[in-house]
């Protein structure tokens, strides 16, 4: 039997307002094994932790139960406090009486009763706890950054500057990401390429950074400090070492009808291509689906014109296996598909475009060489309508429930730029709310209205209909005037919601990092650990975690880098001691556990055992505790109960069950 101390936290009024903490103390003090019980306003405070220290010493406690907030919040805090008191940190259990009790119940009697039961379950568990010792594992001093946009580039640069090797894996032929597609950036109106390109060059030139473009992550195994990653370098069909980037192949390529992804499909490109002029590396790839040589076997023009002899039709995908200590996910975003929004006529009219398409149109390297013109007939528009929140803030199944955050600002930017460059164009913006928190953001928006005469209408557009005269009939509401507006526009720009890049699901699965219902990667804690994934050693950079603008992305990229550096700076990590442990005398050697272990942590060996006097050689399971992550799949597969999980043992869980059901 343990000597258990129970500490009940008020959490100010967070717990105490609904749970009668005094009553909890009174009741649990009579539980078997409990020799100390007290309450305190803030157990997590230094003074609160001192309570634990003192009680452990005075009452010679062997186990501690803290009734407080979620263990996800302060389990580590209280384990450290116990350790300071000379107790094994794993002799601490948390009864979650805040998130699972006081915050969801209103009736005091009911909440108090439940708090007591939760405390009892924790006490019952601690009664069976055993001291556990964390092991150590090595840290590979190399980081992997998945995604080569501004987030990935910045993270890589920061890690590399700290002196660690970094690999960037980018699935497109060039790094640069979404930011390279933008024309100007708010609220300063800097040229996007002008500020991004130097970063790209810096990354490419950095001796600690190795960039795999046109590459994807194929497989991830291992765990924090010791990941093993297979990177698939897709066949470029161009030898990067030989290519000089002269561009002749692209000029001569006879297949020029592929949609240009970089320009959002608004124009076409050749089959052999670099996505944009400043691409890094400046080495083209052959789009094998479009290439005549690959399709028919005839052509070979590029090979003929290439002075450097860099064209290699026989190149194969290459798998590179590399070890990493930390992985940063920076997979970015895309705009949502608008197929479900018929009312905006996006699929019916070329003149209804998304904001990202407008960026390309406004860009000098874009499909119209930077001239604002209608894609249907090339005419200059006179009347432009911007529609905000297209697919954002939708609680129906068509769109996204969240605010995409960046649209208000870039729409103000677009409106302002158009009014600046083309003063004769009327710009109307339909908005639900204009959200401009951020330095100089509201000022920027007000300038669009006050100095550039952008017409902001509080209301939404219900319908956009192409008219026979080529114009678009926009039917919207003006809620302030309580009017319905009918407006003939030349172009309509949709502030389309953004969503995580589709590949993130696969990557999250490989990394066992959790993602939310919107496919954004989940952070370890929404406030306190915003750049870490709950999966140790995996960090989040940029929009893959949630919508954000460039400065925020860069800031988070830096934060993710610091977290990664903090990990890489360590030589060894302490491992989770809650690993599976076989009882050799009960083990049948049946191998069922090894079949379900996702980490290959279970092996079998023939071992001499002494089973109550019977000595024989048996085939018994062995667990490599460095590989075991403690999921417990093996424990349930084992029919004899030989395999158990430390910290979550069969008897501990059963004791909790019993305590709750009694």
């Amino acid at each position: 039997m343990q000597r258990i101390g129970v500490f009940v936290c008020h959490c100010g009024s967070n717990i105490a307002a609904t749970v009668d903490v005094k009553k909890v103390v009174e009741v649990v003090s009579k539980e078997p094994g409990v020799c100390h019980a007290e309450d305190y306003p803030y157990m997590c405070s230094e003074a609160g932790q001192m309570k634990i220290l003192e009680a452990v010493k005075e009452k010679n406690l062997s186990g501690v139960v803290v009734c407080s907030c979620s263990p996800r919040m302060h389990e580590a805090t209280f384990r450290k406090a116990a350790e300071r008191a000379g107790l094994n940190p794993y002799m601490v259990e948390i009864a979650n009486i805040r998130e699972h009790c006081s915050w969801i119940h209103k009736d005091m009697e009911e909440a108090t009763e439940k708090a007591v039961i939760l405390a009892r379950a924790a006490i019952a568990k601690v009664n069976l706890n055993t001291p556990l010792k964390a092991g150590e594992s090595r840290v590979t001093k190399r980081a992997l950054v998945i995604g080569g946009g501004i987030a990935g580039i910045q993270t890589a640069l920061d890690i590399a500057d700290a002196g660690y090797e970094v690999d960037i894996v980018e699935k497109t032929p060039s790094i640069g990401g979404r930011m390279s597609q933008l024309d100007k950036t708010f609220p300063t109106l800097d040229c996007s390429a002008c500020i991004l390109t130097p970063k790209m060059v810096e990354a490419a030139a950095h001796e600690k950074i190795n960039i795999y473009t046109y590459s994807e992550v194929d497989k991830v195994t291992g765990f924090v400090g010791d990941f093993t990653v297979d990177i698939r370098k897709k066949a470029r069909s161009v030898n990067s070492d030989k290519c000089t980037g002269c561009g002749v192949c692209q000029e001569k390529c006879p297949s020029k009808k592929s949609l240009n992804e970089f320009n959002r499909g608004l124009n076409t490109r050749s089959a052999i291509y670099t996505p944009f002029a400043q691409a890094i590396p400046n080495v083209p790839v052959i789009d094998r689906d479009a290439c005549i040589k690959f399709k028919t076997g005839k052509c070979g023009v590029c090979e003929k014109v290439c002075q450097a002899g860099a064209i290699d039709y026989n190149q194969q995908d290459e798998i590179i296996t590399e070890k990493y200590g930390a992985i940063v996910v920076a997979t970015g975003f895309d705009t949502i598909k608008l197929d479900n929004y018929d009312e905006y006529a996006y699929n019916q009219s070329k003149d209804v475009i998304t904001s990202l398409e407008l960026e390309r149109i406004m860009n000098a390297a874009g499909p119209t060489k930077g001239h604002l013109e209608r894609l249907s007939d090339g005419k200059a528009p006179k009347e432009m309508v911007f529609i905000q929140c297209v697919g954002s803030r939708c609680s129906d199944t068509r769109g996204k429930s969240y605010c995409s955050k960046i649209c208000c600002m870039y729409t103000a930017k677009h409106a302002m730029l158009i009014r600046d460059k083309y003063p004769d164009v009327n710009v109307t913006v339909f908005y639900i709310d204009v959200r401009t928190p951020g330095k100089n953001f509201d000022e920027f928006y007000r300038r669009a209205v006050e100095e550039y005469g952008v017409n902001y209408v509080k209301g939404q557009v219900g319908k956009v209909a192409p008219l026979p005269n080529g114009k678009l009939l926009v039917q919207g509401s003006d809620l302030l005037d309580n009017k319905q507006i009918l407006k003939e526009a030349d172009m309509v720009v949709l502030a389309t919601a953004i969503e995580p890049e589709a590949s993130v699901r696969k990557i999250a699965t490989m990394l066992t990092a959790s993602i939310d219902t919107n496919n954004f990667l989940t952070e370890a804690h929404p406030k306190l650990r915003p750049v870490e994934s709950p999966t140790a050693g995996v960090f989040l950079s940029g929009v893959c975690q949630g919508p954000k603008d460039i400065p925020e992305t860069v800031a988070q990229a830096g934060a993710a880098a610091v977290k990664a550096i903090g990990l890489l700076a360590k030589d060894k990590l302490t491992t989770n001691p809650c690993t599976a442990k076989p009882d050799e005398l009960l083990c049948n050697g049946c191998s069922q556990c090894a079949n379900v272990c996702p980490y290959g942590a279970i092996t079998y060996e023939n071992k001499e055992v002494n089973d109550h006097g019977i000595r024989e050689t048996r085939r018994v399971a062995q667990v490599n505790s460095a590989l075991c992550q403690g999921c417990g799949a093996c424990t349930v597969t084992c029919p004899s109960g030989a395999m158990d999980l430390q910290g979550f043992s069969n008897r501990q869980i059963i004791a909790e069950v019993d305590a709750i059901c009694r």
């Binding site: 009579k30 109550h612 006097g613 019977i614 019993d658 059901c661 009694r662």
Partner: protein, 343 residues
Amino acid sequence: MLKIAKTDLPALFQKIAETKDLYLPIRVADQVNFGVYTQDADVSLETLKTVKSPKDAFFPQSETLYTCNKTENKISITPEELQNKEFVVFGIKGCDVKGIEVLDKVFLSEPVDTFYKARRDHGILVALACNEPEESCFCKAFGIDCTDPKADVATWLVEDVLYWNPLTEKGSALTDAVKDLLSDADDSKVKEQQEKTKAIVEKLPYMNLSLEGWNGDVLTEKFDSPLWEELYQPCLACGTCTFVCPTCQCYDIKDYNTGNGVQRYRCWDSCMYSDFTMMAHGNNRNSQMQRFRQRFMHKLVYFPANNNGMYSCVGCGRCVEKCPASLNIVKVVKAFQKEGGDK
């Protein structure tokens, strides 16, 4: 000698059940075991051998001894009430009656088992003589006359009549209680049946099993025999033989945590089980051979050694019928005979 028509038996049972608990062979899901009489019970007196012996009536497979309840820091102990109501075990066979005699030796000698004693004091045995013994029976080997059971009341079922003969005070008292339903009879039919049955007994293959050489004095000789090593091999270490046996009396005492306290109960144990008599240091019989040997040594050597030569087997033959590996005490005895003969 008294009698009652077979058709009136339900009335008899009803009458007994009015004041007493009545246990008798009842068919449930195609198997006949002793159970408590209810009006819609499927009573089967024709069944020669119930799967389990009726020893449950006196020594249940599991019974609570006492209950500890915890309220705050106080623990209260409530002993289980002793049997205080009379009950009747109806239809028990001669061998099973003898089985209870064996249990008496164990539980009624000092220190007396109060739970058992209370049940014995309140239990009335109404035995039913056998008339169609089977090939697995060998009661005669233990001196039992299956046609003339010695109980509180002995009965015979001959054609459509149940003959009733009280043998003890308890038996007479019961007879008085149901005398309205009984009428006088002569015992000629009974005698006739007894003779017929005895003739069959003589023909049954196991009945004249010789137990020569099995007694309390042959301990080391039998214990050290190499035969055991061979005999135990097919044994699956299940507890079937012990749980169907009318004389096996080993039990274990265990606690059950009800959440609010503890129920201390005892339940049958089997010497065939690997954790039988498990102690802190481990197990004193750690191979199945030793456990297998224990069972037969106990029945045929240790028990007679301590009980004036009384074997703790009554030849009911249940183990013969039920052993999944077709092992049994007869095969063991015969194997030793053969070995002895060979020598």
